[in-house]
Structures are given as C-alpha cells and as structure tokens.
Symmetry: C2
Subunit: 211 residues, 2 copies
Amino acid sequence: VSTDGKPRLGRRVLERLMRYYRFLSETTARKPLESVTSAHIAAALDIDATQVRKDFGAIGVLGMGRVGFDVCEVCRGIRVALGFDQPYQAVVVGTGHLGSALLAYPGFATYGLEIVAAFDKAKGKIGTTVGRCPVKSMRSLKPFIRKHGIRLAIITTPASAAQTVADRVVSAGVSAIWNFSPTQLVVPRHVYVRNEHISLGLSVLAYHLKR
Amino acid sequence: VSTDGKPRLGRRVLERLMRYYRFLSETTARKPLESVTSAHIAAALDIDATQVRKDFGAIGVLGMGRVGFDVCEVCRGIRVALGFDQPYQAVVVGTGHLGSALLAYPGFATYGLEIVAAFDKAKGKIGTTVGRCPVKSMRSLKPFIRKHGIRLAIITTPASAAQTVADRVVSAGVSAIWNFSPTQLVVPRHVYVRNEHISLGLSVLAYHLKR
C-alpha cells in the first residue's frame, strides 16, 4: 500500500489496464459503444474474464450486472489510475531510426507523454528537427533537463553509449528512463528503468519456429 | 512436454534465457571470461540466483560447484534451446521509421534471424533499398513468402493496415508474426504472434512518474 492509502498496482496489472484502454479506444473509434462486458474484452485480448473484472475492481471501477461496464467510466478510471491525466515531459537521446520513430509517433499524447527535445552527438543533426522536435547537442542535455524539470529520458543510443547517457540524465535529475538500447543499465534505486529490449521477442519467436 | 520428449519452455523462461545470453555476450566481449556464477548473473540482471540455476537446469546446463558455470557451455546451451543455431528468414512489412530501424539493426543474425526483403505500399519506396534489403510492392508479398518459404513476417505498418497484412501473410503460409503495430491481430491458432506494443511501457512509466 502506497503513501496515499491506495494499493500499489503491479507491472502486470498496469500493462493489462493499458491493453484494455487501447482496445476500448480502438473499438469505440470504429463505432460508438456505451457498455462492454468483461467476457467481450477477455475474448478479444485472450485474457481471463475474471481477471478483467478483478483489474477493474482494483482501480475502483464497478460493473452494472449483466449489462457489463460503462465504457467511459472504465476509460476514465484507467486514465486516472495510470496517470495519463497528468501530462509529463520527456527527452529522447539518440536520433537514429528508432529515436526518429518515437519522435514521429503521434499517439503518445494520449498517454500523457510529451517529448519536448531530442539529443544527438552527430554534428550534422544538431539544429535540425525530427518529428517537430529540435535536435540539440549532448552538451546541452544536462542543463536542459535541469532547466525544464524533465522527469523521463528515452534512450535509443547504441548499447555502447547507453550507460554514459544514463549516468548523465540521472545526475541531471530524471525519475525514470525508458531504455531502448539492448543493454542493462545500472542506476540508483530511486530511478525507475523500463527496458524495451526488442530482441527479447526473438527468444520466443526463434523457439517457436524451430518446432 | 513436446513431441520430441523435451519439456516445453514457457515465455518467461525463454525471455530470461535471452537475457542471460545477451549479458554473457556483452560481458565476454569486454573481457574474456571462462566461468560465471549464478550469483553474478543474478545480481547483474536483478533475478533470483536460484531462478538462474533452475533455468540453466531446464536446458540441461549443469554447474561445476563453487566455480559456477562454463560460459561457453551456457551460451551454447541457450543457443540450441532457443533455436538460434537454426537460422530462419523473415520479411518486414512497412518501411517507416520503425521498419527501417529493424532493417538497419545488425544484431539479429546472432539470434538466427535473417531479414531478406521489405514490403511497402508507397510507390516511391518500391525498388529502393533499406538496410541492404530490397523494398518490394505489396502485390508481391504473398508470392514472395510462398516462393521462399518465409516463416516469419514482421509487421510495422500503422494499426489500420495491420490486420489486412496479417491475413495476407497467414494465407501465404507464415508460422509466426512479430507485430509492432499497436493493435490486436486475429490469426488462426497455429500462427504464433509476438506483440511488441511499445506503448505498453508507458503504463508503467506514467504510473511511476505520477507518484
């Protein structure tokens, strides 16, 4: 239980809530929908219906019996529980293909994330714009984070540069790192790291394909 | 237990094996290392040491008492268990930023994956080359998969196009899809889908940042 008296939600619950949210957003974008049953969500996402109801219960969203759940209420509940209603700013370090993909993606605002600047060591890129974001020099990384109170750094550099970048953004005061470089970062306990190691998926895929 | 008499490995075990493999590859690239203890791996990857030994045991890699594990034997065991020693070919559909990032990444060969062609519907891209791969028209997608016996399709199209692409690659005969588009695909039971929904990470990050 956290300091505000509400139960802390684990990573798997948070990820499932995100999947419900995205599914409901997609579905309602196609056609208006007032209510939805846990069975419907469960079937679409290959999750157990009891689990869906349990997750909704954990964020205080209660069903209406056989009618199921009010879609607006579920979406609002998830937004508040996950913090999408409290926008936060981030910087991207590394503007290769992957960094550019993140900078160009228009969907992050839905989740409260605003990317305000990008950083790269390549002189030719500094001063340019990628996906509406200015690309700045690595020297200005720490001052920028401090000045704007940036809380999240998104690292998309090669593995060899990632730890140095992590050290710098941590010392500048970020609370979290979204790490896309295929390496394990060492950071102080108070900094949260989310690893997005894309090649992890190949373990499962290669294993499946060899059968 | 699978048809070849060996126990099937679950997704989480496979992902941990991948992390051990990457960690040992990185570590030995920096300096030669003959043996390693489960405690050392456990500390570096924030995994329980008992779990590490259990995972190694599951793929038939046994320790040497206090000395720990032979690094070469561990790496070879993981490569064979995950199927990295049995190369397979894949195509990428969608050559936006993310598709280009995957096409340009040199590290996939280590895991047995060879990307042999890319497909896009943008006329201006067809006939060009992205990361040494020829970009072909969507019309040639099905014939190409059939002709070359491609088993994996990597989808990086926008969400709106992903299901149509999935239907086409499935009917052409792929066994697995690596899905980077932020949508839930519907496929027959025999096709394995690995979802790489990057925005899932934002659930945990936003939740952490709001505290």
